[in-house]
Symmetry: C2
Subunit: 407 residues, 2 copies
Amino acid sequence: MFTALSHLYCPRCGATADAFVRQGLCRSCGSPLLARYDLSSVPIRRSALADRAPDLWRYHELLPVSSPEHVVTLGEGMTPLLAVPRLAAALGLERLWIKDEGLLPTGSFKARGAAVGVSRARELGIRAMAMPTNGNAGAAWSAYAARAGLEMLVAMPVDAPTITRVETVAAGGRLVLVDGLISDAGRLVSAAVADTEWFDVGTLKEPYRIEGKKTMGFELAEQLGWRMPDVVVHPTGGGVGLIGIVKGLMELLGLGWLEGPLPRMVCVQAAGCAPIVRAFQAGAGSCEAWPDARTVAFGITVPKPLGDFLVLSALNETAGTAVAVTDAELLADVALVGRLEGLFLCPEGAATVAAVRALVSSGWISSDEEVVLLNTGSGLIYPGTVPVDAPRIAADGEFHLPPAESQ
Amino acid sequence: MFTALSHLYCPRCGATADAFVRQGLCRSCGSPLLARYDLSSVPIRRSALADRAPDLWRYHELLPVSSPEHVVTLGEGMTPLLAVPRLAAALGLERLWIKDEGLLPTGSFKARGAAVGVSRARELGIRAMAMPTNGNAGAAWSAYAARAGLEMLVAMPVDAPTITRVETVAAGGRLVLVDGLISDAGRLVSAAVADTEWFDVGTLKEPYRIEGKKTMGFELAEQLGWRMPDVVVHPTGGGVGLIGIVKGLMELLGLGWLEGPLPRMVCVQAAGCAPIVRAFQAGAGSCEAWPDARTVAFGITVPKPLGDFLVLSALNETAGTAVAVTDAELLADVALVGRLEGLFLCPEGAATVAAVRALVSSGWISSDEEVVLLNTGSGLIYPGTVPVDAPRIAADGEFHLPPAESQ
């Protein structure tokens, strides 16, 4: 048995749907659909994973692909979980980890969703896909679509990171630039795919991207020796990473591979686009669209996520919280983490550092708690976050070195 | 026992040197020094590796670091070895693999050398290091130096990829830009470190960078199930990757973990800077400096590598060869591999594709041989290799999709 996939269900209205034909949103209520597995049929113990390759397909029984020949892979998964003791000390913590998703194919955690989403799309006979994106998802889905021999169209705001345009085109994806935000791109894509064979694979518009993302939770548990940390801090735009991690951990609990309680989940947004933070603070079950959204952490510029109610529910169920940080704070933390730990975080990843500082300061996180930060992408994608001011010397010139000082 | 390191030896004059104090070049003849291990003392079988984490430190007995607490890591190693069947068909091959080194920390294979080199430097009490670089090595060494709490100075040609400046500075490295080539930067660094505490860690100026690079050979053998391919194709500037792979495979032969013959090694250079190709074709034992060196594959713009004689000897000992490809060829192959396999190669990595095409065409590689290409870095570092021409649409505009066509 390659997958224990059983059926799809609607987390809003409770309807169920066939997981073995292509599906979009819930036909009853328009909510995203989620995959459910027959956990009692999973034939392995967690110790069996040790013999499998270090990629996310090691968890294939808990992924939606029915047959190994439909797996589309670029070697994604088992990203490092790095102890960061000097950053921990700077934040007043004893046990701090960064899971570095920048080491995935295409440079961001979007590769997880793309690997699983494209594999399942091909398995279900889909030949052409389209999506709105803030850049990284479009780059990732274009790469996996090329690897699978499928067509991909990506609609991206003109302000998205320039390199993600290049990644999309390098993989043969069709690229459309939009004078607007991801919400505008989403409307354009919805209209364009209507009555065509093109399949809309926008965030949570199909059920399988999140199945790739949940493997962050699987890896985290396995890398910690099958236990959970106290707190997991995740930058949040569409929210699939955060709800994916909770879904993954719940499945491991269901299998008996882990014991509770779940980590308290922290949703981090930019002060310039914080609809989930505002809704969480108001005790609301869903978001209002954020007007004039704007942040250097471009990946999380999502004014009104489709899965907002799932993120809010995950925060409430795990006794979590939501924090907004300013661009100035997160840019300072790109530099701080580079200097202390040698890690070049993406701005979204650096936002988690600023959030933890605030939560330690407020007492919400105590110094003896174990905290995991998700760095969702490589700093290489955001060359503008660090100013460079270096002397320029002639080929036959010279320069002098100061006395060496160990830090 | 954490390491089986025994001593250093000079591959040119045969002198030996103490591996447990800091060493630069051979004091007798000025050649690079290489590390030798007491293979008979390695206490494990290769099967024991399966229980170790998927990073390059799984081979710690064959690495030069004496004590685990001196390991400086960002999670480097065990990069994917990807079957690329559509590219294989396009090149007329049956079994073709790409080892994707773009998924390492800092985005290139330079992370391997930096991880091991910085770890050993710290262990030997070095506090400050300096190097010339074509960009990627400087970025990598700056990151690992920051992680280790050491000082790093990087001298880089102004034409090196811009993002590597950012990576260097983000990690707190001191950056000097040089109006010239890496050879000019090397002279400047040599002069600046003289009579200071700063340690010159330029290519092969110290013995341990290559120890990190040789783990590409270890991983390749392990990932293929402890056997060797017929041909390994490597882009070559300083040459450390190519000679490192051969050194690694020789050590595995010595341990009895592999059986011969060694793969035929192919050194790939750009037509605009091909000193090793010229020397190989002339049957020479070392290179002449290449005048007016110039290529978009900037990482391999090395007019006169210090380890030239080691590369030439590795090519001769493995019945290998050396091939130069034009910038137009390698740029076309960046696009080809993106479209066929979804991989965004660096231009140096794409040069291996162009080289294989030529070698298949000439009959040097036959269609039934198993070939491995090294993609030494991420395409993210070289955003200029793929032109982007995309329509721009208003937020309230529309676009239309063509009929879907599976490729």
